[in-house]
């Protein structure tokens, strides 16, 4: 009778077939002649992108690119959801390049981008061999691709506004820098889990003073925040740090397209944005000097909602009750946030009392708990 808690029978075996992109990248672009034999030839022109074979074996694959067009081109190999497996830029007219990559079984697209812009001219290819291709749902691949576009656009939009912020810092203009500070962070805050997946960028641009490791130099937004609001003046170091911030953010902009994104990582990324709100914003710790926490809060919610909306069509098929709850809770938290809207920004968080913070916290819990169940509703079975 006094039963020891039973261990439930393993239910999850089949569900482990996650839609993890079925490939691992070991892109090394410069070993030109090593594996020329058996290479997949890619012939790029201004209007075509021809491949010598559309089906090849998994493992080490060389792509021998020949640009026969009149424009500089670039070639990308995309996995499901437009994840970049490997790429080579700046292939001049009439020149050749070889791109090597470890490619796992699955479906891919090779894109030539004459003029180095746009989505490119695409060719579908399939890679066979070890391990059957993972089952994918084209709608989810589309969701991942759209989300990837979103994260790229957020990075792209962040650069110019942060540049204005950096310029104000470098000009020693405290007031102007203050007015641009929170604005410059919105794109980052909307897509933070993706940016954080690189590991090395976040500690450079978004670390708080108490998050520093021993020996780590404090760089990034929050150090400038402290100067602007606490010291109320801009030092020579701060001006250099403004440039460092731009360098690091441009690195992010360049790499964000390579992030490993899957439907479940999108769903859990949305939940992580709410975790950010719960641990950093609701408490007022994130923007402890500027008190612009509600701007970040709103950006986190917007980013979570974007991921949710892209997954919603599939999720609602699998769990209608969940998406109904999420629709309602997103609306609720937006309503809650709207109470603090002031012009095109938000009231200073130090004016939000304990009772009100509790209300915001309750709204975050109300949304984050069902959001933590979204991943289960987009797992490809």
């Amino acid at each position: 009778m006094p039963a020891v808690r039973r261990r439930p029978a393993a239910v999850g075996a089949t569900s482990l077939s996650i839609a993890l992109a079925a490939l691992a990248l070991a892109g090394c672009a410069d070993k030109a002649e090593d594996d020329a034999k058996g290479a997949v030839e890619v012939t790029a022109t201004d209007s075509k992108c021809e491949v010598s074979k559309k089906e090849f074996a998994a493992g080490h694959v060389s792509f021998a690119v020949h640009n026969k067009g009149s424009k500089v081109t670039e070639v990308y190999v995309y996995g499901a959801g437009d994840r970049i497996v490997t790429e080579r830029e700046n292939i001049g007219p009439g020149t050749r390049a070889t791109i090597n990559a470890e490619v796992k079984a699955g479906d891919y697209e090779i894109a030539c981008k004459p003029g180095m812009k746009g989505d490119g001219i695409r060719q579908k290819v399939s890679v066979t061999g070890k391990g059957a291709p993972k089952k994918t749902d084209p709608r989810l691949n589309k969701a991942v691709a759209d989300y990837r576009t979103y994260t790229q656009s957020q990075a792209d939009e962040t650069i110019p506004v942060t540049q204005r912020f950096a310029d104000a810092v470098k000009a020693g203009d405290v007031n102007k820098a203050r007015s641009l500070y929170a604005l410059s962070r919105i794109g980052w805050e909307r897509t933070e889990p993706v940016a954080e997946s690189f590991g090395d960028i976040d500690p450079k641009v978004d670390v708080r003073e108490d998050g520093l490791e021993k020996g780590q130099d404090w760089t990034g937004w929050h150090r400038l925040e402290k100067s602007l609001w606490q010291a109320k003046k801009i030092s020579a170091d701060d001006k250099k740090l403004a440039d460092t911030l731009m360098t690091d953010l441009k690195d992010w902009q360049k790499r964000v397209g390579k992030a490993e994104i899957t439907p479940t990582s999108m769903a859990n990324g949305a939940k992580e944005l709410l975790d950010e709100v719960a641990t950093g914003k609701v408490t007022g710790e994130e923007e402890r000097y500027s008190h612009t926490d509600l701007v970040d809060f709103n950006a986190n919610v917007e980013g979570a909602k974007k991921a949710y909306e892209l997954l919603e069509p599939v999720a609602s098929e699998n769990n209608k009750a969940l998406t109904a709850t999420l629709d309602r809770e997103f609306a609720d938290i937006e309503k809650e946030l709207a109470k603090y809207r002031k012009g095109d920004a938000y009231v200073s968080y130090d004016t939000v009392g304990k009772d009100k913070r509790k209300e915001l916290s309750d709204a975050v819990n109300a949304l984050a708990e069902p959001l933590s169940k979204l991943a289960a509703a987009v797992v490809v079975k």
């Binding site: 509790k358 309750d362 109300a366």
Partner: protein, 436 residues
């Protein structure tokens, strides 16, 4: 309704005598309710006369791993034997939807039935989908039921708040569910008072009690939010008169003359709401008063022994009333000071009023002034608050010599419905008007 069946069902696990411990020996473990290895103290340490027939409540694990039946005419956690640990939570209902609230109560009931039986919530803590968080939070994996009881109550604000009938329940509010009057000396913190719903989790293992509240809070997110909660580390009363009366943080046995869980006549008279008392949905239920009572233990500890004993009206070692030899000797109230705690709280001073006490000691860290944030989390069940706690507390608040050493800092009152009788029924079903 049959109390007999109830008592049988909820009977305690038989005493394990394998350790051969002499019954007269009082262990530190059983004194303090700790579940660690018992350190035997000399019997003289507590006056020597604590001869008790059995000590079922002071068993450490695993013999306290038993299961208390969740289903029955009354909710478990009231007249059932008092466990060692408490986690009590008061919730605000945040949804405006009656259906959503009912949904939470149904989910809670299913989770409570599982957890009190020592099972995981939902599909469990492990073995589920790798990409999704498990249904159960997992910290109770491998632990026995630990006599976990979960007891729900509904506060006045569930029925009506700021003049608004929030869920169509206003006309079902029992008259006995009164807002408590302000008592002299109260210093109530609104953030530690009130609540639309409460859940009392009692268990012999604190981890099991906390696990229960945590999982219920998680299920409730978006519909209910924790308003305040309280941990209790040691029981201060017992509903099993054969067991030794536990001590409070002042070092005294207080609550000797409690309603016994086996005394069906007293329970019917003083604890369970009866047909005709008011709202029918409360028949078989009980009204709970919760008070967070801070004790100024540092000043208390500087008080001479004689004064301490006079304040309580008992001797400290045995717990005997003034002028008597044994704890359970009939007290001579007139021999005590007019301001003595026992005298003022005794039924004879209160027109026979009795309440079933089920409180716990707490120590919530320190108060920033170098003192323990300690006290008694007082819990009392009764048939009618107006005839139970209110008159007794009026008397105590006005006269009790103990008031110099205590302060009431939190307060709440709840209507605890009757028990869930069988699987498929849910907490509050009769209140919300569903046919049972």
């Amino acid at each position: 309704m049959s109390d007999t069946a109830d008592t049988e069902q909820r009977g305690e696990a038989p005493v394990d005598e394998a350790d051969g411990a002499p019954r007269r020996r009082v262990s530190r473990r059983s004194l303090l309710g700790w579940t660690g290895a018992g350190v035997a103290l000399g019997a003289g340490a507590v006056g020597g006369g604590v001869a008790v027939a059995s000590l079922p409540e002071q068993r450490s694990q695993p013999s306290s791993g038993g299961e208390i039946a969740f289903y029955g005419p009354h909710q478990a956690g009231i007249s059932t034997p008092v466990q060692d640990r408490l986690h009590f939570a008061a919730f605000d209902v945040t949804t405006d939807s009656r259906d959503e609230l009912i949904g939470v109560l149904k989910e809670w009931t299913a989770a409570a039935a599982a957890m009190t039986a020592g099972r995981d919530v939902g599909e469990g803590a492990v073995g589920g989908l790798a990409e999704a968080p498990p249904d159960d939070t997992g910290e109770a994996l491998g632990l026995p039921p630990s006599r976990l009881t979960l007891t729900i109550g509904f506060g006045p604000t569930l029925f009506e708040k700021d003049g608004k009938d929030r869920f169509g329940l206003a006309k079902r509010r029992p008259e006995a569910l009164v807002e408590l009057p302000a008592f002299p000396g109260d210093k109530l913190d609104p953030a530690r008072s009130g609540g639309d719903i409460c859940v009392q989790a009692c268990a012999d293992d604190p981890q099991v009690a906390v696990h229960a509240i945590r999982n219920l809070a998680r299920i409730g997110f978006g519909k209910v939010a924790v308003r305040w909660s309280q941990l209790g580390f040691g029981k201060t009363s017992s509903t099993t008169p054969d067991a030794q009366t536990p001590r409070n943080l002042m070092g005294f046995k207080d609550g000797t003359h409690n309603v016994a869980g086996t005394d069906t006549a007293a329970l019917d008279k003083h604890v369970w709401a009866a047909p005709g008392d008011g709202q029918d949905w409360m028949t078989g239920g009980s009204y709970l008063v919760a008070r967070r009572i801070r004790m100024h233990i540092e000043t208390w500890d500087r008080t001479p022994l004689k004064e301490q004993e006079d304040i309580f009206g008992r001797d400290k070692g045995e717990g005997a009333p003034v002028g008597k030899r044994k704890e359970r000797d009939e007290p001579n109230l007139k021999a005590m000071l007019p301001t003595a705690h026992v005298r003022l709280a005794h039924p004879d001073s209160n027109g026979g009023a009795m309440i079933l006490r089920r409180g716990y000691s707490f120590t919530d860290g320190t108060d920033g002034l170098g003192r323990l944030e300690a006290g008694l989390f007082f819990l009392a069940y009764q048939r009618d608050v107006r005839k139970g706690f209110v008159p007794v507390q009026k008397r105590l608040a006005a006269n009790d010599a103990l008031n110099e050493y205590i302060q009431h800092v939190g307060s709440a009152v709840f209507a605890c419905p009757p028990g869930v009788r069988k699987s498929g029924e849910w907490w509050g079903q009769a209140l919300f008007g569903d046919k049972r």
